[in-house]
């Protein structure tokens, strides 16, 4: 097989995968402009007009602004605290501790393998006992606890690639451990933080189970819980569900566009010298 044919085949495969990945998004977008009767009559049909009525109806009946604000607040708070605490915990683990550090890193990575639903009941009981059930602080704490192992694992790997001489130079420049971290290590974690933030934001924004169980008050619900309300036990409202799903994805899409350059450089950092 000539190299040209192989290149074409490779490109065709990539194109096919892209189409497979984009198909659900396209379907969601197409359905969001169709009426409930159109969808029922022809589930795979294309929209005949781009009327925004579905969107205004969805926004009106799902407390869109409030639930986006809730999601945004929780996501930003969790991402900020996780990246700060994660990097602070990872620095000594990457640099200072010997055998003990390796055991801690191992335990941390083991906790990454624990399925999320296993921990829901303990979290529920604990939050109930300390009076943080149905509070933003409670769910933020839970998300921090569930995402911190990922952050530590992530930062330990990244910090290990930072030359030690930078820290030594800082020590000669009158920096103790804290100043070395704050003035030298932390500013270098930008690309890693951007990548980690994306993972954490995706996990927190898209999570449905924790807010459903831990935030029982409707006004505190996140966007994902709001979208789910259009999925009833006995009926589905597709003309509201699909626009709501599009609206729920929008803020995350905007964040991704903002962080894109740093995320890509974070993913590739360390690949070349």
């Amino acid at each position: 097989m000539s190299s040209r044919i192989r290149t074409y085949l490779g490109e065709a495969l990539v194109l096919f995968l892209v189409v497979v990945m984009l198909l659900p998004i396209f379907y969601m977008l197409a359905m969001s402009f169709r009426s409930a009767s159109e969808i029922a009559a022809q589930p795979l049909g294309l929209p005949t007009s781009f009327d925004l009525e579905n969107y205004s109806n969805a926004i009106g009946s799902m407390h869109y602004v409030r639930s986006v604000a809730n999601s945004l607040g929780i996501t930003i708070a969790v991402t900020f605290v996780v990246s700060l605490l994660g990097s602070m915990a990872a620095y000594p683990l990457a640099r200072k501790s010997g055998r003990v550090g390796r055991v801690i890193i191992l335990l941390t990575s083991l906790s990454l393998a624990t399925p999320g639903f296993v921990t829901i009941t303990p979290y529920y009981v604990i939050l109930n006992n300390i009076g943080l059930l149905n509070t933003y602080a409670g769910i933020i704490l839970v998300y921090i606890a569930t995402n911190l192992p990922l952050a530590i694992f992530f930062y330990v790997g990244f910090i290990s690639t930072i030359p030690r001489e930078l820290e030594e130079a800082a020590r000669l420049d009158n920096c103790g451990d804290w100043k070395v971290f704050w003035y030298v290590i932390r500013p270098l974690l930008g690309p890693a933080t951007a990548t980690l933030s994306l993972f954490v934001m995706l996990a927190v924004w898209n999570d449905f189970l924790f807010p459903l169980l831990l935030l029982t008050d409707d006004s505190k619900g996140t966007i994902m819980v709001s979208v789910y309300r259009f999925l009833g036990n006995f009926e589905i409202k597709p003309d509201k569900l699909f626009p709501a799903a599009v609206l729920a994805s929008l803020p995350l899409l905007v964040l991704f566009v903002i962080f894109q350059r740093r995320i890509v450089s974070g993913m590739t950092s360390g690949a070349v010298k």
């Binding site: 001489e165 030594e168 130079a169 800082a170 020590r171 000669l172 009158n174 003035y183």
Partner: protein
């Protein structure tokens, strides 16, 4: 006063002894070069002086003050690293002023010191650039500038030129010499390059396996090595070594035959009480191994390296287990595989004990 005194300094990593009871004094204002092969402990010793490695036992005094366990920043030393270790997220100016900021120096004072250092090093136009936008030589200058602004008692350099290309290395070497002449501060410089050691140093400390083999002025080390290791390590091309056996001993001289060159013997001046049939090594510098001298050896040219003004002629002989080298300045034609008579004068030869490697004077 910024002399550095090392008193019985030892460093152990677990069961491995990296520095073995080192004693030395580096005088105030001296440019001292620590030189030795890879793994000899020179960088470890420098890092111990900087405070980046703990001292297992012994005492370190800087400017008369015991700094054995002092914090790195409190020792009054500044270090230039092999990899420069510039903070990549800071500009040149920020890199240079960072240490001063950390000790709470006033803004005006920082400005003055940074602009003064930038002037000395020709960095005035680069102050707003980040390290990644600088060439290797410029980065090296910034690293030196960062050390200068702190006005340390002692500068420490850890192989600072090894990442530069040959031309830039020579240029930076000259700049370092000028800088030392200008600042007159104590400088301790680590290198494995003996040319750097010879050209820069007021004092050279030759190290091997965590021990100091010899210290002294470059000329002294070169012309009066204490042992075979120092004799071979200092000098490029390295000293030629011939095997010898003592046949006759007088009061102030010994007759030595050269087993690798039948019928050849040398009378060398020595006051050592040598015993007949003792095995010795005879060392002759390549510049003394050429076309003049009373001892003539028949050899074969194996390779000629033409350096323009001079040539390194590598020579072999039957039974000789290593190449010898002659440094030729004469315009005579020499080609590989041809026979050549090489001469030397016994007064230029150094005598060493075969077993201990110690100099026999």
């Amino acid at each position: 006063m910024s002399d550095v005194l090392l008193k019985n300094i030892t460093k152990k990593f677990g069961s491995v002894t990296a520095i073995n009871g080192v004693n030395s004094q580096i005088n105030s204002g001296e440019f001292c070069v620590l030189v030795g092969p890879s793994g000899c402990g020179k960088s470890t010793l420098l890092r111990m002086i900087a405070g980046l490695e703990g001292i297992t036992s012994g005492d370190l005094l800087i400017g008369g003050k015991n700094q054995t366990n002092a914090d790195p920043a409190k020792r009054g030393v500044a270090m230039v690293f092999q990899t420069y270790a510039l903070y990549p997220h800071m500009t040149v100016k920020e890199n240079m002023s960072f240490g001063l900021k950390m000790v709470g120096t006033k803004k005006q004072e920082i400005e003055r010191k940074v602009s003064n250092a930038a002037k000395i090093l020709g960095l005035e136009d680069l102050l707003d650039r980040r390290p990644k936008a600088l060439s290797g030589g410029q980065r090296q200058r910034v690293a030196i500038g960062r050390a200068i602004v702190r006005e340390p008692k002692v500068f420490l350099f850890d192989e600072p030129l090894s990442n530069l290309d040959a031309e830039l290395r020579v240029q930076m070497r000259l700049e370092l010499s000028r800088l030392h002449a200008r600042l007159k501060t104590t400088m301790i410089y680590v290198t494995h390059d003996q040319v750097e050691a010879m050209t820069l140093a007021d004092k050279i400390i030759v190290m091997k396996d965590g021990n100091i083999e010899q210290f002294g002025a470059p000329d002294e080390i070169y012309s009066d090595p204490k042992n075979l290791f120092v004799a071979q390590f200092i000098g490029s091309p390295k000293m030629n070594i011939l095997n010898g056996v003592v046949t006759k001993v007088d009061q102030n001289s010994a007759q030595i035959i050269l087993p690798d060159f039948p019928d050849k013997s040398v009378i060398v001046k020595t006051a050592e009480p040598l015993k007949p049939s003792a095995h010795v090594k005879l060392g002759i510098r390549p510049e003394h191994f050429g076309q003049t001298g009373s001892i003539a050896l028949d050899m074969v040219v194996s390779l000629v390296e033409n350096l323009g003004d001079l040539r390194h002629v590598h020579l072999q002989a039957d039974g000789l287990d290593s190449n010898l080298c002659s440094l030729l300045r004469e315009k005579m034609q020499v080609t590989a595989n041809e026979k050549m008579v090489v001469r030397f004068d016994p007064k230029d030869a150094f005598l060493f004990d075969s077993e201990t490697g110690q100099r026999l004077r």
